[in-house]
Amino acid sequence: MATSGTNFYDLYRHGSLGVTLTDALDDLISAERIDPQLAIKVLTQFDRIVAESLQDRVKARLTFKGSLDTYRFCDEVWTFLIKNVTFKMDNGQNSVHADKVKIVSCSAKRTDEK
């Protein structure tokens, strides 16, 4: 179904790309090169594109193993805390180790779309 009118999570705005984009938009507004309405549109577009790109265009994969320490499911959000995690990339590079990893996952379809 056409996605016009459907909403996308804005959680990727808090990632490094989103934060940097917001800083850049702030700079453009300060320099009076764009107005805030355009900035909102850019961020909305960013939400959409990130979600779609992660779904459709990212083909890189990794597998990881670790000990599941805590998990919860609250307000349609799963949270996993995993300890002693080893990530293996599919391009055969060295594995990466992390003492603790937190995974927060939201449904690809928001509740209002189900």
């Binding site: 056409a2 016009s4 009118g5 938009l25 702030d26 805030p36 909102i40 994969r61 189900k114």
Partner: protein, 1011 residues
């Protein structure tokens, strides 16, 4: 741009409109557009639209309709109720007129859009807009709104409409829902419009029911197609509605059966299938149980069987895969029911879904339904896994059926992932190749999920397929089996049963065949075979009897231009994992390496991996003497390269391009003629350094050892074999760096070599004594390239010092500190090299956090004064990374406390002097100078300041009212309120939010667009 004058007559306006739509230069079109915009915006715009609409030229009529929309959007607030009613009657009239006077469809559609725009602004005048429009269409004139009460029932009205009128009504209905759907449902401004739209639910149901009921008589107007598209728009809208839901959804649900009948019409099959697929995928709750039952019956009909057969044997690129996607969408929506059902109809449907994985042709290139079908089956497997862990075992009577389907799925996938013949593959474009590889990865993912359900039996299944295919010499099947086994490597544990199964593979004749140079085995299978060995390195740890054979195979492939890279990677993984088993083979491996490199120039990365592999075996040798001897043997080879490189640099005439030792310095990517002797000598050194770095990584211990922090450092022997080796390595690195003193890459590799030793707790050739490392750093001149990397390595060095015994740490820090600050002093501006600024500040921060006495006793003391001012400048600046380091530094500095009274007095004095400056810098940032992303970081020193220092409030107050405060948007009262709240919060987490709000107030409302 020069403006055109406003036209003085209607004829001129018409001329301009024609010019706008005629082929013209962009400049002309811009000028025409600009003058027409001015006309539209003028008070005469309404009149202009009215005059133009009667023109026989379609483009002029279209422009008239567009003008109406523009005027409504801009000036609807100026229209009285009577004006609005009159306007509505006029637009309806013009729309009816366009239907009868042969106007183009695009004109009528634009007039429908104008009507919709009217509804958005004046919905209270004609809440049943659709019924009103249908009534007007029926009576063929624009009737007043009040006359609607006398109209017949909507279903009677639509029953008499001609196909043409029906089409226009559907255009209006589509535009209505799409345009209103674009407005914000939650905004007060549009809430009433949405509410009134819902009240048109029963009318749209009457209209579309008639639309779906049209006969398929040959005509230029395809009412059914329009109705399908309109239906889709209304369902999409209904999905978003939260209140008065039934008003719309119930009437729309009545249309499902009529819409389903459109499947029967070949022309409408595709749009109907897309409509149902979309709704099943995105709004499955729209359909009722009866609808699902009807769809299930449809899939069980001969009609569906015909479409299914066509899908399996047809050309997907030409015929499409709509039917397959429809089945999959239905399967997805009902996956739980289908999985737990045991009735014959569900089983037949699932059988067909598994059959979608066996359509004709190769995945991605010909078969386009495989990947979506695989996605469905992955969901099916995940649903099974959920049930397996949540449902009682007795309630899983469906499980045998589901397992049977999974077997078919696995078998079909195994067939599908087999590579095509080489000549066939060569014809594919890059997208098809990538698509095929991605599909294989998707299959691997699904197999891992299935393993959760089936366990070792899945391994046995592929082992059997592997052995059967091997016996039949069916290489594509052997490759697919090996690939599937590789995919399961992460799932297997040290379970004896899976080892038993795997042993059948690793003891099979396959690996003998693999080792035969120029043998039968195709390249692709050789790659997968070597990868299989790498993936099961843990198996080889448990079954050392197969290890030598596996490694021999891998070494034999190292020289191959295609297999060399993967083989070296496998060697590195295997040797690292199985290092303790292989210690007796270290000498043989070194000789093997020597033999290979004397015969050919290995790929640089492959060579580094082999070195890493051998070094990791050497590291595991328990006897120190033997370990160092093996190390020296390997090191001697690399050292030879260094010496050759230095000699060549000194005597370029020694260059002999027939000597493989010199060819090592020629990059394979170099296509720009013959490189000079100097370039070659540098490349040989870089390559040797990278090998040395791999050696250092290989020598890292994989076991954890206890560190005694209070113990004295190990006595450093100035003689001894290990010390000699270390001295030699350092001497070589210094020599190479001195010779090639402009190479930044070289500095980076040397830093990597040092870093490899920093993480070690046991002595080793790369675990250099602290004084050696300190000497190396402080002897680096300021102009050394990549100084930032040197400083970041120095930070790691400090970290490693802190992990070891504490004695002598202050001595090393006291020697390094002046070097670091002098490096910062050499910068023309604090932000001219961000890497140096960031790492320099981080270094001082690390020293201050553990040994503040070292920092405050720094000599000459001007260095410290310089550093404080430098860090404040950075905090005032714009570069995010140094700024973040500076914020960390000041957070640590503000909260610095020490038990030593003299030192504490020094700290307090420094703080008294610096406190106002820190407050001023922070306030300037929070007053709007900082970037939004920096606010949290900058809140940290602020929080510390208000909790640790009594004078904080007055410092902050002075800063807020200082002339350097950047914003004029906040009043003194607001500044004081901010200060009061900051102090009141006493460093609590809410300070961050407060700072953010203050920053927004200082920047102004333009910046509230992002939360």
């Amino acid at each position: 741009m020069e403006q055109l004058p406003l036209p003085t007559s209607l004829a001129e306006v018409e001329e301009l409109i024609r010019a706008l739509y005629a082929p013209n230069t962009p400049e002309t079109i811009s000028k025409v557009q600009e003058v027409l915009h001015r006309l539209q915006r003028s008070p005469q715009g309404w009149q202009l639209a009215q005059s133009l609409i009667s023109n026989p030229d379609n483009s002029i009529k279209f422009y008239a309709a567009l003008t109406l929309i523009v005027k409504l959007n801009r000036e609807s607030a100026n229209l009285s109720e009577d004006d609005a009613k009159e306007l509505l009657q006029n637009i309806v009239g013009w729309t009816l007129q366009s239907l009868s006077d042969g106007s183009g469809a695009f004109v009528t559609k634009k007039l429908c859009s104008a009507l919709v725009t009217h509804f958005i602004y004046f919905s209270q005048l004609w809440p049943r807009c659709l019924r009103q429009f249908l009534f007007c269409l029926d009576v063929e004139r624009s009737v007043p709104i009040e006359a609607l009460d006398e109209a017949l029932e909507t279903n009677i009205i639509v029953s008499t409409l001609s196909r043409e009128k029906l089409t226009v009504a559907i255009w209006f209905a589509s535009s209505l829902v799409e345009e209103i759907g674009k407005t914000d449902m939650n905004s007060l401004k549009y809430a009433q419009v949405h509410d009134r739209l819902l009240r048109n639910g029963s009318d749209i149901a009457c209209l579309l029911a008639r639309g779906f009921a049209q006969s398929t008589e040959s005509t230029t107007v395809d009412v059914e197609a329009e109705a399908l598209s309109c239906f889709q728009s209304w369902i999409l809208y209904a999905q978003r509605v939260s209140s008065n839901f039934d008003l719309l959804v119930n009437p729309l649900r009545e249309l499902v059966e009529p819409a389903m009948r459109c499947f029967g019409n070949e022309t409408h099959f595709q749009p109907t299938a897309e409509l149902f697929s979309d709704v099943l995928s995105n709004y499955s709750s729209f359909f009722t149980a009866a609808h699902y039952d009807a769809l299930a019956s449809l899939f069980d009909s001969p009609w569906a069987a015909k479409h299914y057969d066509e899908l399996l044997i047809g050309d997907h690129n030409t015929d499409g895969i709509s039917f397959g996607l429809l089945m999959l969408a239905y399967g997805d929506a009902k996956v739980q029911d289908l999985m737990t059902s045991t009735d014959a109809r569900s089983q037949r449907f699932l059988e067909r879904l598994s059959g979608l994985l066996a359509a004709n042709g190769y995945v991605a290139a010909d078969d386009l339904v495989f990947v979506p079908a695989l996605e469905f089956w992955s969901t099916f497997v995940e649903t099974m896994i959920d049930s397996a862990y949540t449902d009682e075992e007795e309630s899983q009577s469906w499980r045998p059926n589901a397992d049977q389907h999974l077997k078919t799925v696995v078998m079909n996938c195994w067939r599908k992932i087999q590579w095509p013949p080489v000549e066939h593959f060569a014809e594919w474009d890059s997208t098809e190749r990538a698509g095929f590889s991605d599909a294989r990865k998707d299959v691997a993912d699904m197999l891992q999920s299935i393993f959760t359900l089936n366990g070792v039996s899945l391994i046995s299944f592929f082992v059997d397929l592997f052995l059967q295919s091997l016996a039949a010499r069916s290489w594509a099947e052997v490759e697919a089996s090996a690939f599937c086994l590789s995919a399961l490597s992460d799932c297997t544990t040290d379970d004896p049963q899976s080892d038993f199964e795997l042993s059948k593979v690793f003891s099979s004749p396959f690996f003998d065949l693999l080792g035969q140079a120029g043998g039968l085995i195709p390249l692709r299978l050789r790659q997968t075979g070597l990868s299989l060995i790498e993936r099961y390195c843990e198996y080889f740890e448990r079954h050392a009897e197969y290890l030598p054979h596996a490694l021999n195979l891998l070494f034999a492939a190292v020289g191959d231009s295609i297999l060399g890279g993967p083989s070296a990677r496998s060697i590195s993984t295997l040797c690292s994992s199985c290092r303790s088993i292989l210690t007796g083979e270290a000498g043989a491996f070194i000789r093997h390496y020597q033999t290979i490199r004397s015969g050919q120039v290995l790929d640089s990365i492959a060579e580094e991996r082999i070195i890493h592999a051998i070094a990791s075996i050497i590291q595991a040798i328990v006897d120190e003497g033997q370990r160092l001897q093996m190390f020296e043997e390997l090191y001697a080879i690399i050292k030879g390269d260094f010496e050759r490189s230095l000699l060549l640099k000194a005597q370029p005439n020694l260059l002999d391009m027939s000597d493989p030792n010199f060819l090592r310095g020629v990059e394979s990517s170099n296509t720009q003629g013959a490189p000079s002797a100097e370039d070659i000598s540098l490349q040989i050194s870089l390559r040797a350094l990278r090998c040395l770095s791999s050696m250092a990584k290989g020598m890292q211990d994989v076991k954890d050892h206890v560190v005694e922090l209070e113990a004295d450092p190990r006595p450093v022997s100035r003689q001894g074999r290990l010390t000699n080796i270390q001295s030699d390595i350092i001497r070589l690195m210094v020599e190479v760096q001195r010779t090639f003193n402009t190479s930044g890459e070289l500095v980076e590799i040397i830093c990597n070599i040092f870093r490899a030793g920093f993480s070690e707790t046991e002595p080793g050739p790369f675990v250099f004594p602290a004084e050696v490392v300190t000497d190396f750093f402080i002897q680096q001149p300021l102009e050394t390239p990549r100084s930032g990397t040197l400083l970041s390595t120095a930070c790691s060095f400090v970290g490693s010092l802190y992990r070891g015994p504490r004695t002598f740490v202050p001595i090393h820090l006291a020697r390094l500190l002046p070097w670091v600050i002098t490096m910062l002093q050499a910068l023309p501006e604090p932000e001219s090299d961000t890497e140096i600024a960031q790492n320099g500040i981080s270094f001082v921060d690390r020293v201050m956090s553990r040994y503040p006495d070292v920092l405050f006793q720094l000599q000459p003391s001007q260095l410290l004064e310089f550093f404080f001012m430098f860090t404040l400048k950075v905090l005032n600046g714009k570069e995010p990374l140094p700024k973040s380091a500076a914020a960390d530094f000041w957070t640590g500095f503000i909260s610095l406390r020490n038990e030593d009274i003299v030192l504490q007095t020094t700290i307090a004095n420094a703080m008294n002097h610096l406190g106002p400056l820190i407050a001023q810098t922070l306030v300037r940032n929070m007053g709007g100078n900082a970037a939004r992303s920096e606010l949290d970081k900058l809140s940290d020193p602020l929080k510390k300041l208000v909790t640790q220092h009594v004078k904080a409030q007055s410092w902050l107050e002075q800063a807020l009212f200082h002339e350097s405060f950047p914003s004029t948007q906040v009043t003194p009262l607001e500044k004081m309120a901010f200060l009061k709240k900051v102090v009141g919060l006493r460093g609590a987490r809410q300070t961050n939010q407060l700072v953010r709000e203050f920053w927004l107030s200082c920047r102004g409302s333009n910046f509230t667009y992002a939360s």
